[in-house]
Symmetry: C2
Subunit: 219 residues, 2 copies
């Protein structure tokens, strides 16, 4: 039974990795729809979300099945509850990508406000953070998980910078306001994606090193 | 042992209710700090967050302990994983209240842009949603949980209305822009609070009626 359980866990992790790949794809399509001014890419995001939602439910059901059937002890138990959390974070990443796509559809009805540099950079970084957080989980790599948490500071910095730049656009010309606010919202969505990756990173550190760094009790 | 487990579950639910009360208080203080223009209320929010963070960790540890020790079967298992999820949603509500307080501290450095009506209304509604979602959980009340999901539409409507109103303020005068964007962000934070209450409501419907309404497979 032990070996069988290991196989089951392995297959769950694989599924989680697939789901993470899909969410990265979604972020890519949602931001590329803006950059390439191609609405069909935004719709692709919404298509992929259906798959992600199915996967989320499948993974949750499988975790519950394993909890009931295998009645795992401490370490495996923590692994399974971690999978539940990561599953939920990934589903929320998919939600954020959908929010971006929906805003993009509005933005594409108007001429571009400015060339987009920071937002695609931020999207790349957020995608990499998702990938790294999952790799850290699957490969038991707390150092990589810490890297994810550190990258979050960079995302926050870019988010602030985007915010300030877009404020100046709004100040210059009221015609820029709606588009600038939309871009600020997209930048916030990406910041939220990075937050979810950070949640996953913190969870990995918790599992691997047995300490909860989430709330920095010593601060 | 069965009876003992029931007692343990009951005490976990009580703790979750306390945590929910604290998050409602946090939302109250964060928005009241803006309405009453009193920065000390914003700081109270940040104080309470420490308690919420401690409670989140305690609840999680207790759930893991029960999972390991009691090895509960199907129904209780689902209840425990639901508690884990609700726990995580409540902690994120607390995060949103902190975001509001942080933005409020900036806003209080400048004169008020406009009298605040919709934002306090939205905050009241979001607080009630949190309360109702937890009551629905503890009292096994799927009808109340559905009410929570319906209230979410009203929150989205108010959020849209606030957004449009603030856009006109920005268009009228560039001096309004920074403050208007800050209020838009606060309105988004409240919308996220309502989303978390809705997550909890959906979880309750899932537990009580055994169906997953989250992603509307039949849509």
């Amino acid at each position: 039974m032990e070996r069988h359980f290991d196989e089951e866990l392995k297959s769950l992790k694989q599924k989680l990795l697939q789901m993470a790949d899909l969410t990265q794809e979604m972020i890519g399509f949602s931001v590329q729809s803006l950059v390439k001014r191609d609405e069909t890419l935004a719709h692709k995001t919404l298509e992929i979300e259906k798959k992600v939602n199915h996967m989320e439910i499948e993974i949750e059901e499988e975790v519950l099945r394993l909890l009931a059937l295998r009645q795992p002890a401490a370490k495996d138990l923590r692994l399974l509850t971690a999978i539940l959390k990561i599953n939920s974070d990934l589903e929320r990443v998919a939600d954020q990508a959908c929010n971006i796509s929906e805003t993009a559809v509005y933005l594409l009805k108007e001429p571009p406000l400015k060339p987009l540099i920071d937002i695609p950079n931020m999207a790349n970084l957020a995608q990499r953070m998702i990938k790294n957080s999952l790799d850290a989980f699957v490969n038991h790599d707390p150092a990589l998980a810490k890297q994810v948490c550190e990258d979050d500071d960079e995302v926050d910095r870019i988010n602030e910078q985007i915010f300030r730049e877009l404020l100046t656009f709004m100040m210059e010309n009221p015609k820029n306001i709606t588009r600038a606010v939309d871009l600020i919202l997209i930048s916030r969505n990406l910041e939220r994606v990075a937050d979810h990756a950070t949640n996953i990173g913190e969870e990995v550190i918790f599992i691997e090193e047995g300490k909860n760094i989430k709330h920095h009790f010593n601060d």
